[in-house]
């Protein structure tokens, strides 16, 4: 009896994961795939949704970053959090993405990363450790984000 209450307490406390690359997401073909496929690269994980204005602004920048630093080992991974994938597809038609797009309609990965706002971005180094995170996307800070990526790529 007591054990059961303990279990309940643990459940309600909510066992939160932490931001890491050990999470499962869907790819465009609806196959489950782990974020750890990008291990060994500098990974820029971005959470976005079709209804989020600043996300729209971040896409051209992420395209530019992916193109500029692909050869040095940068992987931009944008995880969509729309519950309806049709909305995401519509968005991608308007704002094409030249980087990896993954889907997490359940939002469980977002919960593990404990997002405080949309969009949110997380930078992982080549060892797969979380180094930096940002809430929101501000064009004024884009140079700063890029500098952080460059320093990670040089490591």
């Amino acid at each position: 009896m007591r054990k059961r209450w303990l279990l309940l307490a643990l459940l309600t406390a909510g066992a939160h994961g932490a931001p890491s690359l050990d999470h499962q997401v869907f790819n465009a073909q609806n196959q489950v795939i782990s974020l750890s496929e990008f291990k060994g690269k500098v990974v820029y994980v971005d959470f976005w949704a079709s209804w989020c204005g600043p996300c729209r602004k971040s896409f051209p920048w992420m395209n530019a970053m992916q193109q500029k630093y692909r050869d040095q080992g940068l992987a931009v991974v944008a995880i969509n959090l729309d519950t309806d994938q049709a909305l995401a597809d519509e968005f991608l038609k308007q704002v094409p993405a030249q980087f990896t797009v993954r889907f997490n309609p359940e939002g469980d990965v977002a919960r593990s990363f404990d997002l405080l706002g949309m969009p949110s971005s997380f930078m992982f180094n080549r060892q797969g450790q979380l180094v930096q995170s940002h809430v929101g996307f501000y064009q004024d800070n884009a140079a700063e984000y890029e500098q952080e990526l460059i320093s990670l790529l040089k490591e």
């Binding site: 307490a9 309600t12 959470f47 939002g107």
Partner: protein
């Protein structure tokens, strides 16, 4: 035996009952719809404003003109 159990349950519910309420940042898709905005209906805003300055006119309202008759 009864009482401690009750206290424990009350504590668990009290401490964690509200921990999973509310909308998470990634769940705000419906709230982001333009028709969910407070100012999505311009006519509604105009009517609200007319009612406001008619009722509050006697105490100044938005300015000092008007006397609360709703006729200006």
């Amino acid at each position: 035996m009864r009482k401690p159990l009750f206290v424990v349950v009350a504590l668990i519910v009290g401490l964690s009952g509200c921990s999973s309420l509310g909308v998470e940042p990634w769940e705000k898709g419906q709230l982001a719809r333009s028709d969910m905005a407070l100012d999505s209906e311009k006519l509604d805003l105009a009517l609200d404003d007319h009612i406001y300055f008619s009722k509050e006119g006697s105490s100044g309202g938005r300015a000092f003109a008007g006397g609360g008759c709703g006729c200006n």
